[in-house]
Amino acid sequence: MENGPKRLIARYAVDRGEDFELITRFDDGTIRERVSKEDPRAASIMPRYPAAIWFERKIRDDFGIRFEGAFDQRPLLHHERWPRGLHPMRRDVDVHTVLELSDYRPYRYEAIGGDGVFEVAVGPIHAGIIEPGHFQFSQAGEDMLHQEVRHFYKYRGIEKMLEGKTLAEAAPVVARISGNESVAAQIALARIAEAAAGEEAGIGIAARRALLLESERLAHHWTDLGFIPNDAGFAAALAYASARAEEVRRWMAEWTGHRFAFDAIASKPRPWDPEEALRRIAAQREAIDWFEDWIVGIPSLWDRMDTTGILQRFDALRYGCVGVVARASGVALDVRAGEALYTDNGFAIQSEESGDVAARFKVRIAELRHSLELMERFVPLCTEEPFAFPEGGEGAFESFVESSLGELYLAVEMEEGKIRRFFFRDPSFINWQALHRMMPGNIIADFPLINKSCDLSYAGNDL
């Protein structure tokens, strides 16, 4: 597998007027193909790259391009009552088109047949305060035989929404694609702007961004470190960890004027007190040490987490998984490992081998601690230089950022300073597709625990 296929990062299409262009981004380069508009067809790569399934189904819905040799041809974004034949990413479809409900076409869920096997349907609205999505389980009693994830209930049409806008106009929307990776998305857009202007952020700006990016990671990892045990019935961990996440949100509010740092990357830094920042970071370092020390001594919790929801390394590679999900299965993949600011300040990839809930939990603890160490080094480097989106921009640009959920990939095509095509690949778009590989051999009661341990975004996935 190691020398096997490359990693599939993204596959998407662009309407070129005369025809379509199909763009496939691998870790070692980009492949471009022309697809005729008369008879829009292309060869499927899903048999070789399982994560291509959603990409190709999405392209089909967006543009009406059919994939030959694709074993899954079901619609993805277009749900039961979507107007027939409407492919909204085609340039001749107006972004303000008012959709009429069509007749109801049932969706065929993946299901396993057999004596006594039954299906459980969950969603799209779930119990609790969670984003909407649908999970379909094939069950043999308690045991999950298979699970299908069905999403795009939150599909807002963001890619099309941003066409024709300048980067500065797009920025507030980009900050709100997915609240749990807002800083990462804002940085991705700022890097696109810098690439378009042929510039690179100075160390002071880069350090300030990194400080916010790591703060975002802290808030999320703390929240997960609380919710994972909570889903295993250990609520005290949530009380403790959610209070730490709240502290991070409060300092983000002080530093940026916003608890999630929305719009902070493109606005003028506020005056701040680096000494105070260092004190808070130190307090959090104590907190994570205390938390780890406490939580390792709770055997009934580890009993639930150990060997639960295993993602084999083989599958993590096959699907091209990213983020904590990949790293907990022994895949050393982290965008930060290629960034000078990080490597110069002692960055090291945190990983585990066992691929289970426990491994993902441990990686989060290790990363949280490491983020705090890095932040201590970033604080003195930060400057208060403002960043502003340069005007103009022509050509195709891309950027990668390691969000708290994993590698975020953004590709933007600019024409006379306006966005011509906006393509955003959320880390969760890949990881959601691998989720079902963690289910066989586990009971349905462990599903929430497994799902939470992966911390996946619905909003960023659905766009």
Binding site: Y240, S242, F260, F262
Partner: protein, 169 residues
Amino acid sequence: MLRYWQKRFRTGILTERPEFDARMKELRKRLKKGIAKHFAGSLAIRMVDSGSCNACEAECNALSNPYYDLERLGIRFVASPRHADVMLLSGVLTFNMLPHVLDAWEQIPEPKWCITLGDCPVMEAPFTRTFAIEAPAAEHLPVAHHIPGCPPSPDRIIEGLLEFLEKLD
């Protein structure tokens, strides 16, 4: 576990900013009174995300952290709409969610109220209209109250709920 209880007793109730805590204390008192008066001491909320960026949900979850601890006041986020008094609606109401949101609303027994949460459902967040967006929510549901913000912070959500209760007076 013992260590946890030691820490628990040493820490006591979390406070950080005295003015903030004094304001929260006052809000809590009034909220508790309003809930006692209009909802027999227990207000059940079904939160429905109709296409949010998920920060509005994160702030609702934060209401349960030890700094806010909303549950103490008799506010519960319930799983089933059939147990709910209020539907708290976040997000831009997508084309794909609309039928499900209306389903959930129908399942809530009368009397019921719909409260919109955050700038999205009133189309005041930075999103511009697309084919996939059906907001403003008031075109599809009888909205009784709105809590603005992007996202509204936990204390703003508490204030918003209080304003809603005062409307019922």
